[in-house]
């Protein structure tokens, strides 16, 4: 079976700066792939090109055989790609449940309806998703007053509402406590197992990366250093030298 996502020769320059050059990797269904690298390595730029927030300078992004490079984010979403943001982007003036309902209304093509009451549409479906994420008890709280970790989970709930084939998670656990991190990643892993969804994520916490990623793309200065399983990456001397230094040894 061919890969779900096949990224080839991706590149982007800002002004004269080559933020990303010749990045290639692929991702199978029901697999979690992490992109790691030091600050400024080009992880977020890569990520935003796959999500459509940044237009690629060159290269192709094949999703199930269709090139989605350069499409608008909303078109990429229609093709079954959900995402979360590093700095969470939720609808602050709405409740947690309404945030998920918005995604469901868009999924069902009802956003221009003038007659129904929005907060009654797909309410049960939204609650079911929230129960799965463990946010059901917060469903009636405004997003504007939620704690940071909870907002991250709202992001996840909104992102999986239209049952994406591919979920993009940009620093999903930033700002969370270690136990919250583990819980969120366990949850993500269970969704991957049960629904066959693939996850592409960036993450600073190496414990999270090595515990959950099936494959890891290591980037430095805009280019891919190596791609491999956690064990391969851990043993790669170049990775140790350029990026990880001694920290990986210290952590494991």
């Amino acid at each position: 079976m061919s890969a779900l996502l096949e990224v080839t020769g991706l590149a982007k320059s800002f002004g004269g700066v080559r933020a990303v050059r010749d990045v290639s990797f692929s991702l199978n269904r029901a697999e979690m792939l992490a992109i790691i690298g030091p600050n400024g390595a080009g992880k977020s730029t890569c990520f935003n090109m796959v999500g459509g927030q940044i237009r690629p300078g060159a290269g192709s992004i094949m999703l199930e055989g269709e090139n989605i490079a350069g499409l608008m984010p909303r078109q990429i979403w229609r093709r079954g790609v959900g995402r979360t943001f590093q700095i969470s982007a939720t609808f602050m003036s709405m409740t947690v449940r309404e945030n998920v309902q918005m995604a469901l209304m868009s999924h069902h093509g009802r956003i221009r309806a003038l007659l129904p009451l929005a907060n009654r549409l797909y309410a049960e479906e939204a609650v079911a998703i929230l129960e799965r994420i463990g946010l059901a008890d917060r469903r009636d709280q405004m997003c504007g007053v939620l704690a940071y970790g909870d907002l991250k989970r709202v992001e996840l709930a909104v992102a999986i509402a239209h049952r994406p084939k591919l979920l993009l998670m940009d620093e999903p656990t930033a700002g969370m406590s270690p136990s919250e991190r583990e819980a969120l990643m366990q949850l993500t892993a269970s969704i991957v197992r049960e629904e066959g969804m693939a996850v592409l994520f960036t993450e600073h916490d190496m414990d999270v990366v090595f515990a959950h990623a099936a494959h890891i793309v290591v980037m430095n200065r805009g280019a891919v250093v190596t791609v491999g399983t956690p064990a391969e990456v851990r043993d790669n001397s170049e990775v140790k030298r350029i990026y990880l230094g001694g920290t990986l040894e210290a952590a494991h």
């Binding site: 909303r74 609808f91 868009s106 956003i111 003038l114 929005a118 009636d140 405004m142």
Partner: protein
């Protein structure tokens, strides 16, 4: 067109550009550091002219004709600078973190107060200014005579530009101003005393406006229409140049100055349309103006996005009770009250439709009067010129307004915040000047009169019920829309455009549709108003109507659903009862606006809601709503 004539027009254009630059540089300087678009900047210009003309005689008598005139203008400029300081310290300082709408309304309140203050002090009549000794003659350039004073003005603008440039680039103060313009939060971290910096910038900006006003005196008399004309020109210049950019202001001044000098030869009637059209074209290709920078997400923008959720649908029995009173009103109320109530319902629809895009959609329009006026004019012209039945005109005119709103919306909804407000204002002014100058179609200044509903429907009571039915239905539709998926999506776009895009929402199309819906509703309010008054005139398209609609929302409560309706009723009746008592309605209104903005930004309904008097009917989350932070 021979060469000497062209040269003469170029010089005339550049002299005009100088004057534009003096005003616009102060406006853009103030915007740069405070992110406030100061509507009162034109009023400061007007004040400068009046101050200079007042002290001119005594000062020249004391100091002689060589120094006297310049000293008088300088003193006037300094005095206006101090007025600017007072405005900053007393009012605007408290609003730096407030939403744009409150900032705009506060400065608009100052405009109203200054208009009446000038009339109180100097009267309605224009005061002819002096001609400066030594600059009364003309020089001959390429065989055509060119006034000396214009030649002097031609150099005044560049001189001020050089002075400002040195001040901004060669002094510590200038470095701080540039730092604050570039990144306010960073300047804050660096330990800049913002209060002092902002006050000094306001002083300089206001003094420049005052100086420009004084320098204008030999060209035209001090008069009470200077403020609106000057502020519109200054807005155009700063927007084209890029808000916050002094160099951009110079460039745009020259562009507009030349455009006016030559435009008057091509389109003698409508230089304003030409000027606004150029602005629209520039913004299409350079959204942030010629030399402007993309606006970073500022604190005030965030305050807007964190706006409170709309209140829950009010208890059905409250709505029924109000409706019941409205249904029987004509049975016991005198005609006068019934007429006022009709007007209140019409303005209710206007304010309600505006608040739908402003509060729910985050689309800050300062030109809603355009669609109100288009509705009114379309209905009047349809009946008068084409013999369309009145009822059909009443209902068809809004569709025209809606189609226009669809087209205009398509261009402007890509912008946000202050740029969007400026573009809507520009569009409304274009429509206004078309109505004013296309005399054959619109009757110009006199408008169109004697257009009434036929027979039975023209009676006060009957028309009241007609309005209640038609406008009431429109209000109900928009009310429902607020809570529908359409309204939720609009609000979602206000909260986070990024997230909308990432869940498959075409936000631009959605915002255009919302703008068109609001425009249609405003058009219906306009055609209803036309039949109530029996005619139209250009005042229906004026900035005052756009501002009134925003003020109604402010009075009632911007972040509430019923606020605009309550506000429209309060505004209509207040105005009707206060106006006969005083000649200074604008002063009263200005004070009301400023008190509301500073002390009760949540308005009547917001105030009532916060008391939790409806705790049984209004479900609220146990945690304080986000609006606490907005207020």
């Amino acid at each position: 067109m021979d060469l000497s004539f062209v040269v003469n027009q170029v010089l005339t254009g550049l002299a005009g550009a100088s004057s534009l630059f003096l005003v616009a540089s102060g406006l853009t300087l103030i915007f740069g550091v405070s992110r406030i678009v100061n509507f009162a900047h034109g009023s400061l210009f007007m004040l400068g002219a009046y101050a200079a003309v007042t002290i001119y005689g005594p000062v020249v008598a004391a100091l002689g004709p060589a120094i006297g005139p310049w000293f008088a203008m300088l003193c006037a400029a300094l005095a206006v600078g101090l007025v600017g300081v007072a405005i900053e310290v007393l009012i605007l300082r408290r609003l730096y973190h407030a939403p744009h709408m409150l900032q705009i309304l506060a400065t608009f309140g100052i405009v109203l107060i200054m208009q009446d203050a000038v009339v109180l002090i100097w009267g309605y009549d224009q005061i002819v200014g002096p001609r400066i000794p030594g600059l009364r003659g003309a020089v001959t350039i390429f065989g055509l005579r060119f006034p000396q004073y214009e030649l002097f003005m031609l150099f005044a603008g560049p001189a001020v530009f050089v002075g400002l440039w040195l001040l901004l680039h060669r002094t510590r103060w200038g470095t701080l101003v540039r730092a604050a313009t570039r990144d306010r939060e960073m300047a804050d971290i660096l330990g800049v005393d913002q209060a002092k910096l902002f006050t000094s910038v306001f002083f300089l900006g206001a003094a420049l406006a005052g100086l420009a006003g004084g320098l204008q005196l030999p060209r035209e008399p001090a008069n009470i229409y200077l403020d609106v004309r000057v502020i519109l020109e200054a807005f155009v210049v700063t927007v084209i140049g890029g808000l916050g950019s002094i160099g951009g202001a110079l460039l745009a001044s020259i562009l507009i100055g030349l455009l006016q000098a030559f435009g008057i030869l091509i389109f003698p009637k409508s230089t304003l349309v030409l000027v606004f059209a150029v602005m629209a074209i520039v913004l299409m290709f350079r959204p942030w103006g010629l030399l402007g920078r993309p606006e970073p997400q500022t604190t005030s923008d965030l305050a807007e996005t964190k706006a409170a959720p709309p209140d829950r649908p009010y208890a059905a029995h409250l709505v029924v009770a109000v409706l019941a009173v409205l249904m029987v009103l004509p049975l016991f109320a005198p005609d006068y009250i019934v007429k006022l109530s009709t007007q209140a319902i019409i303005f209710g629809l206007l304010a309600f439709s505006l608040n739908f895009i402003v509060a729910t959609g985050g689309i800050l329009s300062f030109g809603h009067a355009a669609f109100f006026g288009i509705g009114a004019y379309t209905a009047a012209i349809a009946v008068k010129n084409y013999g369309v039945p009145a009822g059909a005109a009443l209902l068809a005119a809004p569709l025209i307004a809606g189609v226009v709103a669809l087209g205009v919306g398509w261009f402007i909804v890509r912008r946000t915040g202050i740029y969007l407000a400026m573009l809507t204002l520009a569009f409304a002014q274009i429509v206004w000047s078309v109505a004013f100058q296309w005399v054959e179609l619109t009757g110009g200044d006199n408008g169109i009169v004697g257009v009434w509903m036929p027979g039975w429907a023209s009676a006060t009571g009957a028309y009241y019920y007609l309005t209640l039915a038609v406008c009431g239905t429109a209000i109900a539709v928009i009310w429902r829309a607020v809570f529908s998926p359409f309204g939720y999506t609009l609000r979602a776009g206000r909260d986070s455009a990024l997230r909308c895009d990432a869940i498959g929402i075409d936000l631009r199309r959605h915002r255009v549709l919302a703008f068109a819906l609001a425009g249609t509703a405003a058009g219906l309010a306009g055609s209803s108003f036309m039949f109530l008054k029996g005619g139209v005139d250009p005042s229906l398209l004026s900035m005052d109507i756009s501002a009134d609609a925003l003020i109604m929302s402010l009075i009632g409560g911007v972040q509430t659903v019923v606020g605009p309706l309550v506000g429209a009723a309060a505004f209509t009746f207040l105005k009707a009862y206060i106006m006969p008592l005083t000649d200074q309605w604008r002063l009263v209104l200005g004070v009301i606006i400023i008190v509301l903005v500073l002390a009760f930004p949540r308005g009547i309904v917001g105030f009532v809601n916060a008391r939790d008097w409806f705790s049984r009917t209004v479900t609220r989350s146990p945690i304080p709503a986000v609006e606490e932070r907005t207020a």
